[in-house]
Amino acid sequence: MALQGDFQEHLSTLGRLGVEAFPVKDEEGISKVNALVIPGGESTTMGILLTRWGLREIIRERAREGMPILGTCAGMVLLAKQVENIEQPLLGLMNITVRRNAFGRQRDSFECELDIKGLEGPPFKAVFIRAPVITVAAPPVEVLAKIDDKIVLAKEGNLLACAFHPELTEDTRIYRLFLGL
């Protein structure tokens, strides 16, 4: 989804994996793709654009039909049913509540090594930028990674919500998880 944010970084990672990837920002594009990545960026901006340009319903419909969606950072916020304390337009597809800027402002943005359930090999080097977290995950949401009590990676059927940015590192294991949905 190329309304705003770092979609170019997602496109180049997917390209490296040999996946045919292209930017979509209208109904025609969204109805053509087999899977969708909602990139990092500003969730308010993307939510406003989704609503203003009438793309919310088509994405919701395609998601209900089973189209896999990976949402990173802002993408995770948009996938949520609810955001704490802030009113903003969402896709509302996953049974999760998120808190935006949960670690603080930019000076608190960080990198760390993360253990992820079901991921083989060394811990994942995760980049968190003004990142959100999941504060409530209702069944059937499956929690895949946490920092203390904060959920940072979760899956619900064909939907994968990620608080960090796999598109900013070389490790492609999160994409393999997504492509396997």
């Binding site: 190329a2 309304l3 705003q4 944010g5 770092d6 979609f7 170019q8 970084e9 920002k25 990092g40 960026g41 500003e42 308010t44 901006t45 406003i48 654009l49 203003r52 340009w53 950072c73 802002a74 802030i86 903003q88 935006r100 800027n101 603080g104 402002r105 930019q106 000076r107 608190d108 943005s109 960080f110 990198e111 760390c112 090594e113 993360l114 980049v127 968190f128 930028i129 003004r130 920092i147 940015h165 900013l168 590192t169």
Partner: protein, 320 residues
């Protein structure tokens, strides 16, 4: 005997605590280059708007801005009023930070690293070491590597852009000519930067050292640009952008996002114009949509013919 048992017990306890500690403690790295450039990457495809109050900041956020620049006066007013322009009052910046959920940027004077320290302490998300304010140092910019918060700096050409990146800027923007409502200088700077990048990609390797000397930029960065065909940090447009068409023009010329300073809140209908510029940056390559969103926005800000400005009034020539 009790002593021995106690000491063995204590040894085990401390070992247990140590293990437990090592397992639970995660190494957290803040202020890394990846995290700094990362925020700039998240702002791509967006519009960063100058605001001077909490109310304006909320209008900007509702219109779809990806970030706001907290100021006391927009560049057009700084230009009109003259005198020394400094960092904004911290209470103004805090007021704006409280009003919105999107990132808040603020400006410090070129070379004024204490203003930058204050802005970092306030918790702003990005610092603009800006030629719009009166420079505090006429030889040196701030050593931006020393800060946790990322910096954006203006540039008129590739050499200037790479010098700022060498000092630690995590985002580059064209200088344009702020507060004029005239996009001509931003176009000039973007074209020059993109031309110089394209030129580097076709130069034979042995000519890169001389080219680095000509540009006044570090060889390592020159070589990186020659190999990748782009700047190592996001490249945004700023200075004189006043209409959705201006914003789309800068995007088509290669900008990855757009700053709008005086252009929004000095126009007749700020909300409508802000919204239209956000749409224009997303659909910059679709003239049909651009035509639709450019309709009925009211009067844009009054523009200034840059040829009629005296040299002393040019902001873009500040910076070294």
């Amino acid at each position: 005997m009790t002593h021995i048992i106690l000491s063995i017990g204590l040894t085990f306890l401390s070992l247990f605590i140590k293990l437990k500690f090592e397992v639970n403690v995660m190494e957290i790295l803040t202020g890394t280059w990846r995290v700094k450039v990362g925020l700039a990457q998240m702002l791509k495809g967006g519009v960063i708007m100058d605001v001077t109050s909490a109310e304006q900041a909320r209008i900007a956020e509702e219109a779809g801005a990806v970030a706001v620049m907290a100021l006391e006066r927009v560049p057009a007013d700084i230009r009109a009023q003259g005198g020394v322009a400094r960092m904004a009052d911290p209470s103004k910046i805090k007021e704006i930070m409280r009003a919105v959920s999107i990132p808040v940027m603020a400006k410090c004077r070129i070379g004024h690293f204490v203003e930058a320290q204050i802005l970092e302490a306030l918790g702003v998300d990005f610092i603009d070491e800006s030629e719009v304010l009166t420079p505090a140092d006429e030889s040196h910019h701030i050593d931006k590597h020393r800060f946790t918060v990322p910096f954006v700096c203006g540039a008129r050409d590739l050499g200037e852009a790479l010098r700022r990146i060498a000092e630690g800027a995590a985002m580059i923007r064209t200088k344009g000519e702020a507060g004029t409502g005239n996009v001509v200088e931003a176009v000039r700077h973007m074209r020059l930067i993109m031309d110089e990048i394209r030129k580097l990609t076709i130069l034979p390797k042995e000519e890169l050292v001389a080219e680095a000397k000509r540009l006044g930029a570090p060889y390592e960065l020159v070589r990186w640009v020659a190999e990748h065909g782009r700047l190592p940090v996001p490249n945004f447009a700023a200075g004189g952008i006043a209409t959705p068409a201006d914003a789309a023009l800068m995007m088509q010329l290669g900008a990855e996002a757009v700053f709008v300073g005086s252009g929004i809140f000095k126009s007749e209908d700020p909300y409508a114009r802000a919204k239209a510029i956000v749409d224009a940056v997303t659909y910059y390559d679709n003239p049909k949509i651009l035509a639709q969103i450019s309709e009925g926005l009211g009067e844009p800000m009054p523009g200034i013919d840059i040829r009629k400005l005296e040299d002393k009034d040019l902001l873009a020539t500040r910076g070294w």
